[in-house]
Subunit: 188 residues, 2 copies
């Protein structure tokens, strides 16, 4: 059983809203659980409902939200779970802090779609509302985004299909989970 | 290895401050990890710092805090971790909600020390400050506590040594974790 030989890890997907973080993370999640690997998906929107109700989108509140996600992710990962975090997490220092503090593998996935592409997708209507002045502190519009300097993985989702991005993540991740059979798994 | 055969569980210690929840939970935690069983201790005070900063001690805030603990505990437990929650958690409905919503075993431990005993112990000085009018919404003084109606375990810590309470918990817990060897473990 793979699940009994693998260690935990934090795989942190970051970038603007609509860049494709949750789409890729969900596919990786499905892949892992289908193979008996313990995994959890911590989606930014869901986490806000469950442990960060009341926090807003100021720098201070986003940093607090980031720390909470890091706390939960670390608890799970140190117990052997592969934790897929999908959260805008715009501040570099916040992401780096989670990396520094965890005792497990930390894999940063920069889902790098340009703002204009994200804005055309806009499935939640966030950008439209930001442009109309109805929403403030929207990352990429009037809220900053600090891209990773040296992410383990970069997925340019405006230039490649989802499958390619998912494969990028799995090829980095699987050797850490099951050193013995990583290549055969990745090739399936 | 025990850790690879056991399932997760939520063991929820409830009662007044200074009743002995964290003391018992810590001993159970040490016992489990020493035997290779995955366990985490979610202490109420620590959790407030990590995921509930900003929440107070009103009914609404305590219920929100309780839900957050339940969310984290459930994530861990469904991944095979024995989660020891030590939190006053004064409202019955809040504890019952966690029980209803989880898919893992839920063991409620009522650490039942009378108020006057807790007040004599008072290691944090909470009761002294409450009696002096410096603190409000202190459970047992001007904040309600709703004891469990049918807890799986009751530990009257004013009438028994810590070892007896710890043994009560282990005797209920171990058969769920390792059905095959529970009695021999409990007798160690």
């Amino acid at each position: 059983m793979i699940s009994e030989t693998c260690g935990g890890a934090i795989v942190w997907f970051t970038d603007l809203s609509a860049a494709g973080k949750s789409t890729i993370a969900s596919c990786v999640f499905e892949y892992l659980v289908a193979r008996g690997i313990k995994a959890e998906l911590l989606d930014g929107d869901v986490v806000r409902q469950r442990i960060s109700r009341g926090l807003g989108f100021s720098r201070e509140d986003r940093e607090e939200n980031n720390r909470r996600i890091g706390f939960v992710a670390n608890l799970l990962a140190r117990n052997g779970v592969v934790v897929l975090v999908s959260a805008i997490s715009p501040y570099r220092e916040g992401r780096d802090e989670v990396r520094r503090k965890t005792c497990v593998s930390f894999v940063e996935v920069y889902v790098s779609a340009p703002l204009d592409v994200c804005e055309r997708r806009d499935p939640k209507g966030l950008y439209r509302r930001a442009r109309a002045g109805e929403l403030r502190q929207v990352t990429g519009i009037d809220g900053p985004y600090e891209p990773p300097i040296a992410p383990e993985i970069t997925c340019p989702t405006h230039e490649e299909p989802v499958e390619t991005s998912v494969d990028r993540v799995l090829r980095v991740l699987l050797p850490w989970l099951v050193p013995q059979s990583a290549s055969s798994l990745a090739d399936q």
